[in-house]
């Protein structure tokens, strides 16, 4: 009988599993689709410090910045700094900035100055205030006629790697990780949940798992999972669409105002820029999100008003996710504020069943700690939390210097640099695979510097099972060519690692292409068509894959 089963492999689920395992609870993590395949993989990928809570509860801001600092400590290789520029544009377009804008600038600067107090907790820099000319000297792409701008910085992170590393860390501390398994039903007695029945999604059969506690961290699927336990959990799903550009349009994030007054960012993220996001109540199936041309246009229009150069940028793809926001906003109760809720369903007649709802990527560690505190209290066991001090895999040692790594291993320098980003101190472990099989030294993808060895490492050690899993872990197909060149060697590598049939390998390849195509479709009209034509050429005109 296990202590804890965690359902959901997003940042909360993997975070809870890691914390619980590290505290000595026998833990199992169950994920249906793949880690970060849901909300955790469809957000802006930012670790920020709770800027807006300065207005309600400074303690929250302090703790958020502290936690940002912790995440830096445990996974230093994954974080990259994103400076933000907030231009203050006139309320009405075409007008010169007046008293209103100057007052706003004054007030906003005071606000940022307060935030400066907490920036050191996360190694953040102090704010600056720029005049209109200074701002354009730094970022000439911003429109003229602003009242000036404010700057500060936050961090970006690869959320897929974060979740995978949480899971790996959990496993290192004894947890059992079941990726590609879904919960078919809950095992229950009269007023208790006693475990789960699992069903493999990609083979793997059925099994019953008994546990003292079951934690529902299903994000947009939390209500559905709770229903299996006979319990109601309400969320207010919000759909958010982002768009990825082919390169960094700027090294600084620019905050733009959309037509409806919402903030839309164009921000650098790894080797691209992303634009996001929309926010619409969503009533459909979280497994079947589609993107409308309108949503893409909304984002581009929002940014173009402040940063017109975006109109000429190449758009690689559009992607969507669900924000599983808490359903009702009640009075501020707990120390982490109204953004999330942790439920103990004993009061609902399902003792041993818990749910976590809402939250932000940035506060996952603290929320997981809170969640596991509750479980430990109920189970009467568990060591103190150490998730803020023990590094995630790859964070224990500094990443090796890229050009040295490249020379020592005969791999391209860019691939070495990206390997150092994605795997930090474990880069050497990944390359060790190429010692047994020299061909693994080759690149699958030049755009993102993905080596075959990295794909093999992920398949063997990071619970990846499909090519789509690999695109999350290793950025396969996420670069400029979106899979045109890398899908084939990746499928061949997968086939060998899984000792799969030819048919199965081609099926995997098709699945990856389908997944990529879903992201191209909303943004094809324009320059993207040339890439699409080459992609269709490479796989279908050649006859390599069948038409359907």
């Amino acid at each position: 009988m296990l202590d804890l089963v965690v359902i959901g492999g997003g940042v909360n689920g993997t975070g809870i599993a890691r914390d619980a395992a590290m505290r000595g609870l026998s833990t199992m993590l169950v994920e249906r689709k793949d880690f970060a395949a849901g909300s955790s993989g469809a957000n802006s990928g930012m670790i920020h410090g709770g800027l807006r809570y300065l207005l309600y509860d400074r303690k929250v801001t302090e703790l958020s910045c502290l936690d940002s600092g912790y995440i830096q400590r445990i996974a230093p290789h994954l974080l990259f700094r994103i400076p933000f520029i907030l231009p203050v544009v006139p309320r009405r377009e075409g007008q010169a900035p007046g008293l209103f804008e100057q007052s706003f600038l004054y007030g906003a600067e005071c606000y940022f100055e307060e935030y400066d107090r907490y920036q050191p907790l996360k190694n953040g820099k102090q704010h600056t205030r720029l005049t209109d000319e200074e701002m354009r000297a730094i970022e000439p792409g911003i429109v003229e006629g602003t009242a000036g701008a404010l700057t500060m910085d936050e961090y970006g992170i690869d959320p897929f790697r974060l979740c995978a590393l949480n899971a790996r860390s959990a496993e290192r501390h004894g947890a059992v990780i079941k990726n590609h398994f879904e919960v078919a039903r809950m095992l229950r007695s009269v007023d208790r949940i006693e475990g789960v029945e699992l069903r493999g999604v990609r083979g793997g059969g059925r099994e019953e798992v008994r546990a003292r506690a079951v934690f529902n961290a299903g994000g947009p699927w939390a209500p559905k999972i709770a229903a299996l336990a006979g319990v109601e959990v309400k969320i207010r799903p919000g759909k958010g669409v982002h768009v990825t550009l082919d390169r960094r349009l700027s090294n600084y994030a620019i905050v733009c105002k959309a037509i409806d007054g919402r903030d839309v960012f164009v921000m650098p993220h790894e080797d691209s820029s992303i634009i996001g996001t929309t926010d619409d109540d969503y009533y459909g199936d979280p497994d079947d999100l589609s993107i409308h041309d309108d949503e893409v246009k909304y984002l581009l229009d929002a940014v173009a008003r402040t940063f017109p150069a975006v109109r000429q940028a190449r758009i690689l793809r559009a992607w969507a996710g669900i924000r599983p926001t808490v359903f009702d906003y009640g009075p501020l109760e707990d120390r982490l504020s109204r953004d999330h809720r942790i439920y103990d369903h004993e009061v609902d007649g399902a003792a041993g069943f818990f749910s976590i709802v809402g939250g932000k990527l940035a506060s996952f560690r603290a929320m997981s700690e809170e969640a596991v505190d509750l479980v430990c209290r109920k189970l009467g066991k568990g060591r103190p939390c150490a998730t803020h001090v023990v590094p995630l895999p790859g964070g224990e040692a500094e990443a090796p210097e890229a050009s040295m790594l490249a020379r020592a291993n005969d791999i391209p320098v860019f691939a070495a640099a990206r390997l150092a980003y994605r795997h930090g101190g474990e880069a050497g472990k990944v390359l060790a695979l190429a010692e047994e099989r020299p061909e693994l030294r080759a690149q699958a993808c030049a755009c993102e510097g993905v080596l075959l060895a990295e794909l093999a490492f992920s398949l063997r050690n990071e619970f990846a099972d499909s090519l789509t899993d690999l695109r999350r872990r290793c950025r396969l197909g996420m670069g400029v060519c979106q899979g045109t060149r890398c899908a084939t060697p990746a499928a061949a590598l997968w086939s060998r690692e899984r000792a799969a049939t030819h048919e199965a390998a081609l099926g995997e390849l098709e699945s990856l292409l389908d997944e990529r195509w879903k992201g191209h479709r909303p943004v094809l009209a324009g320059e993207a068509l040339a890439q699409a034509e080459l992609l269709q050429n490479a796989f279908f005109t050649t006859g390599a894959l069948p038409c359907r």
Binding site: E113, L130, N251
Partner: protein, 158 residues
Amino acid sequence: MLLRLLNAWFWLALRALVLHPLRLLFLPAERKGRPAFLAEYTVEGLVPYSAQERAGLHRFGGCINCGLCDAVCPLVGGDFRGPSIFALAYSRATPELPALRETLATLDRCGACTRCRDACPRSVPLLDIFAFTRRKLAEVDAALPPRRAPVALPEHAP
């Protein structure tokens, strides 16, 4: 909770009425505005893009990874696989450029034969991309803190 709210507003008011004006008065110029911004961020490779660079950036984005330029480049061999990597990877972001210094050094051997640019179906201005990448590396290098200054490279064998 009301207490926390009041606390929050108190500090913001103090900032607005007292601390911020004091700061404005006594903070030296180089710790404000543009000099402060650049000092903080360029050390991490987060350099600005100039207006001319921005104007040309979108043309760099035409590459579809067809490999034709790599197939015709006379410098391919040894560690160098061809010029497409500049369009596909090197020119996309600046923070990693110092790691790519040696490959950028290959450009020193580029005689601008223009075979790559002429072979490109998308008319990607490869020679402009080379120049851009070199320029950005120089900027990032200039901004790096002294202890991470470039180390002398060994003789680069073709």
